[in-house]
């Protein structure tokens, strides 16, 4: 499938040369003359009623252009995706504050320092309510709730639990807790809005979906979507965190009010306070197995904290459920979970989307079960792996590919070599690993408007090609992949292809770029458009070579169209395009790829890690990682390795250092000083290998790629620490203080 010139070769990142010279313009870098700086005044309490809001002093301050409150919003006063618009753009007087940091008012000024000063002049009075912060209690105590409903629910049953229990020789129970994780992208939320020369309100901002922003802005401003343009510049990291509106509605309101360009950049503190997080979750699991290691049943009950707004909690909760039984064939299964509302931080999408929360308890439990059975943990897994054509523990999914999970784990462990000796007498070393089988890795589920993806490809008269695609680039290399595909299809060098992305003015619609779906869905759309153009070119070639109406298969290479594999007779692509031009033929094609209405159980991954724990400082160091992933055909190896290494690195932080502290709805860790993400010295050498078992429906056989390291990374490390210290750790991050208390009470 991969007899291709460029696919699979190492290619520079397209935007790389600019980026490495500091020339890339991110949202934080945008500006315009006459621009206003916008700042938000935010609630100081996590739960309560807004009794009074006095902005008069701020409005009277010299240099303040406008102060806006909820009553200045002409359109819809709430926003939110996808479950429903339940988050206030600005909380109105008399309205309820549900989260510390909810926006109450906006100030705008040509001077940033004046805008900041004006904020300090705003006065708010609250009636404070008790913060509903114990999510487990919300799930179990009907008298304790924030909203009398759940933000997500999952339920899956098969077989007969009591039968599974009767067959089991060993039954093992365990309770687990998965923490909050902050995205901590290096570029905070930012955006610029302005009226263009035609009076269209334009918003440039970092997000996963330009079209979603257009929709929300138009609704909030009470104008038609045709009056709004949304552009996405290169995003300085998102990992799922920039899916909802952040700055966009606020700056658009200011531009609408004043007619002037408006810019907003969140401070780091603001970003950490307000932005969405990975959902924390508590899980209770029971598993039974026979003496020789056949799992007879699995029961999992979990609850996740979605915070006060629904966002995509329903999806995260669902996908956590689909990960709960992993790549194992278990006859009797019961999985039930819910996401609940609290006054804590909002839980939303973060690389892995519920997967890490589902994989952690299971892969911890597998290790513990192996110990219980006196069996090797790898062997126990191997004994229960799912096979091709098996039905995994999730509705609507079928394993339709060779199952490579065992191979992935073997290779991942091999990469580590022998377990090293401790480097000091007071250190202990250990090895751990984990496997996963995500069932949604390409978001092929056509929910939430994500089902369709458009592309536009046009061959110009000189043989250069313009491509328009609605996808966004946030560092995963998607722009490069898209050009590679077109280059490969037409035999045209990358320099002669121009790619326009994520601008609602020019690019066809796409569903949001999430769930590792970018290359998969846009790749398919580009291939469809290319195919259509190639058919038209074949007609032209048949006329040119005098074979018409017989149309021969063609070879596209070296900017030429050859009539045969030997590449003897040809016309250039430019000649064909010129012919089309003169004949009035259209060499532009639009395509619309609709995701198959099914989930995909075909992208397996495994990680193995060696760790060393210093028993004096209780610090854990990851010594080496091996990560192996069946991602189907790899289109751009450089970008693919980057995604894998990046995902593993984020998992190291999640497992060991990233401790989010929140008490009574008040987050305490609002800086990089307090919330410590991994640095270069915390990160070991990470070895990556891809198994390229082609998928049946991805472009050139590609599968999803970016999210997978997050599924297995943290739990592999926690397993390693558990093995090193001969203690079962069922919570993380394993910061020194946590290790100490765990060991010594």
């Amino acid at each position: 499938m991969k007899n291709l010139d460029l696919i699979g070769k190492k290619i520079w990142k397209l935007d790389g040369e600019e980026g490495i010279q500091g020339q890339t313009r991110y949202g934080t870098d945008l500006s315009m003359s006459g621009m206003l700086y916008v700042k938000a005044y935010r609630a100081r309490i996590p739960h309560g009623k807004l009794l009074r809001l006095d902005v008069s002093k701020a409005a009277a301050l010299d240099g303040v252009s406008c102060v806006l409150t909820a009553k200045d919003i002409p359109g819809e006063k709430k926003f939110g995706f996808p479950a429903g618009a339940d988050q206030p753009v600005l909380v109105e007087v008399g309205g309820t504050i549900l989260m510390k940091g909810d926006a109450l008012a906006l100030v705008a000024s040509p001077s940033l320092s004046v805008a900041e000063k004006a904020l300090s002049l705003i006065e708010a009075e609250y009636e404070q309510y008790e913060a509903i912060d114990d999510y487990e209690r919300v799930a179990n105590d009907s008298s304790y709730f924030l909203k009398n409903e759940c933000s997500g629910e999952y339920s899956y049953e098969r077989g007969d639990l009591s039968k599974g229990q009767a067959e089991a020789d060993v039954i093992l129970e365990g309770s687990y807790e998965v923490p909050i994780q902050e995205h901590a992208y290096m570029e905070t939320e930012s955006g610029l809005s302005y009226y263009d020369s035609k009076g269209i309100l334009t918003v440039e901002s970092g997000t996963h979906d330009a079209f979603y922003v257009r929709y929300e802005v138009a609704r909030c401003l009470g104008i038609d979507e045709i009056k709004v343009r949304s552009i996405v510049p290169l995003v300085g990291g998102t990992y799922g965190g920039k899916q909802q509106c952040s700055t966009q509605l606020h700056i658009a309101l200011v531009t609408q009010k004043t007619g002037l360009p408006a810019k907003m950049v969140w401070s780091r503190r603001e970003s950490m306070l307000v932005s969405h997080k990975r959902h924390p979750a508590k899980i209770h699991m029971r598993m039974g197995a026979t003496k020789d290691g056949a799992i007879t049943f699995l029961e999992s009950n979990y609850v996740m904290d979605g915070g006060p707004y629904s966002t995509c909690s329903s999806g995260v909760c669902y996908w956590m459920g689909t990960h709960s039984a992993g790549p194992y064939n278990i006859p009797n299964v019961s999985i039930n979970g819910k996401a609940v509302y609290t006054n804590n931080t909002v839980g939303a999408a973060f690389r892995g989307f519920g997967g890490p929360q589902g994989v952690f308890p299971l892969e911890r439990h597998m290790d513990k079960m192996a110990r219980e059975l006196n069996m090797d943990a790898q062997q126990l897994r191997a004994k229960n792996y799912i096979r091709e054509k098996d039905q995994p523990a999730c509705n609507g999914v079928l394993i339709d590919t060779r199952v490579t999970v065992g191979e992935a784990l073997e290779k991942a462990i091999e990469k580590l070599g022998p377990l090293p000796q401790p480097s000091t007498p007071h250190a202990k070393v250990g090895r751990g690993y984990a496997v996963a089988m995500p069932l949604h890795d390409v978001s092929s589920d056509p929910v939430w408007g994500m089902g369709g993806t458009g592309a536009h490809v046009e061959i110009f008269r000189d043989g250069s090609i313009e491509v328009r695609s609605g996808t966004c680039e946030f560092g995963s290399g998607l722009d490069t992949v898209q050009k590679l595909i077109i280059s490969n299809e037409f035999g045209v060098p990358m320099e002669r292809i121009h790619l326009i992305t994520s601008d609602t003015y020019w690019t066809p619609k796409v569903g949001r770029c999430v769930g590792s779906k970018g290359a998969y869905a846009s790749g398919q759309a580009l291939l469809m458009a290319s195919q259509e153009l190639k058919e038209r070119l074949a007609t032209i070639a048949a006329v040119h070579f005098g074979t018409y109406p017989v149309i021969a298969p063609l070879v596209f290479a070296n900017e030429r169209i050859y009539t045969n594999q030997q590449k003897r007779d040809y016309m250039t692509l430019a000649e064909a395009a010129d012919f089309a031009y003169r004949q009035g033929m259209n060499l532009a094609a639009d395509s619309w790829y609709v995701n198959p209405n099914r989930l995909n159980g075909n992208a397996f991954c495994a990680m193995a890690a060696d760790v060393e724990v210093d028993m004096l400082s209780y610090e854990t160091k990851v010594l080496r990682c091996g990560y192996v992933h069946d991602a189907g055909t790899i289109i751009n190896p450089l970008a693919a390795i980057g995604q894998a290494v990046g995902g593993v690195t984020q998992s190291i932080g999640y497992a060991l250092t990233e401790k989010w502290v929140i008490e009574k709805g008040e987050s305490k860790t609002l800086s990089f000083h307090d919330y410590t993400i991994p640095t270069s010295v915390d990160t070991p050498h990470i070895e990556v290998e891809f198994i390229e078992e082609p998928s049946t429906d991805g472009p050139y056989g590609a599968k999803g790629l970016s999210e997978h390291p997050s599924y297995v990374g943290a739990v592999a490390i926690v397993n390693a620490v558990s093995n090193a210290l001969d203690t079962e750790f069922d919570v993380f991050p394993l910061t020194p203080d946590k290790l100490y208390t765990y060991l010594h009470g």
Partner: protein, 157 residues
């Protein structure tokens, strides 16, 4: 209060009247439009804003502009020469060492500073140490180490 700042930035003499309290970061970005120096935290924790001042690495967000008046300052814009990528930049690009790229200007400055100061090739540990103040949430550290190790090997041979 406004005051005249003078010093050398990327080899060019600069004189400009600015607010006395301005940080070097805002001076570079807002007054001189040198937007390659990035903003990540404005509290000295992330290294996105790192620049070289008289051969030493500084986080420009916590450096008052006037504290370094008269000094020689290099930002990412001063790294490539005559439109040619600096070998560090080329190495990072060839190895695919970055993703969103937001941390990369600071990372490049840190690498240059350490490599210029060292008389020998940096060991893996020293490379890691050199960039330990530069956060990269895309998690590219191992690839950066690989890129610089390769670059040094090529230089040696």
């Amino acid at each position: 209060m406004q005051k005249i700042w003078s010093g050398t930035i990327n080899g060019k003499k600069i004189e400009k009247s600015i607010e006395q309290s301005m940080t070097l970061l805002h001076f570079l970005r807002d007054e001189l439009s040198l937007l390659g120096t990035k903003v990540g935290c404005e509290s000295g924790d992330c290294g996105a804003c790192a620049v070289i001042i008289d051969k030493k690495l500084f986080n420009s967000c916590i450096t008052p502009a006037f504290a370094v008046a008269g000094c020689e300052i290099t930002t990412i814009e001063g790294l490539s020469e005559n439109g040619q990528l600096h070998p560090i930049q080329k190495a990072l690009l060839d190895t695919g060492s970055f993703q969103c790229g937001y941390c990369m200007p600071g990372m490049c400055m840190a690498l240059k500073c350490a490599m210029d100061a060292a008389e020998h090739n940096l060991t893996e540990e020293e490379i890691r140490e050199a960039i330990s103040g530069n956060l990269c949430r895309c998690g590219s550290y191992s690839l950066v180490v690989e890129a610089i190790s390769l670059l040094q090997e090529v230089k040696k041979s």
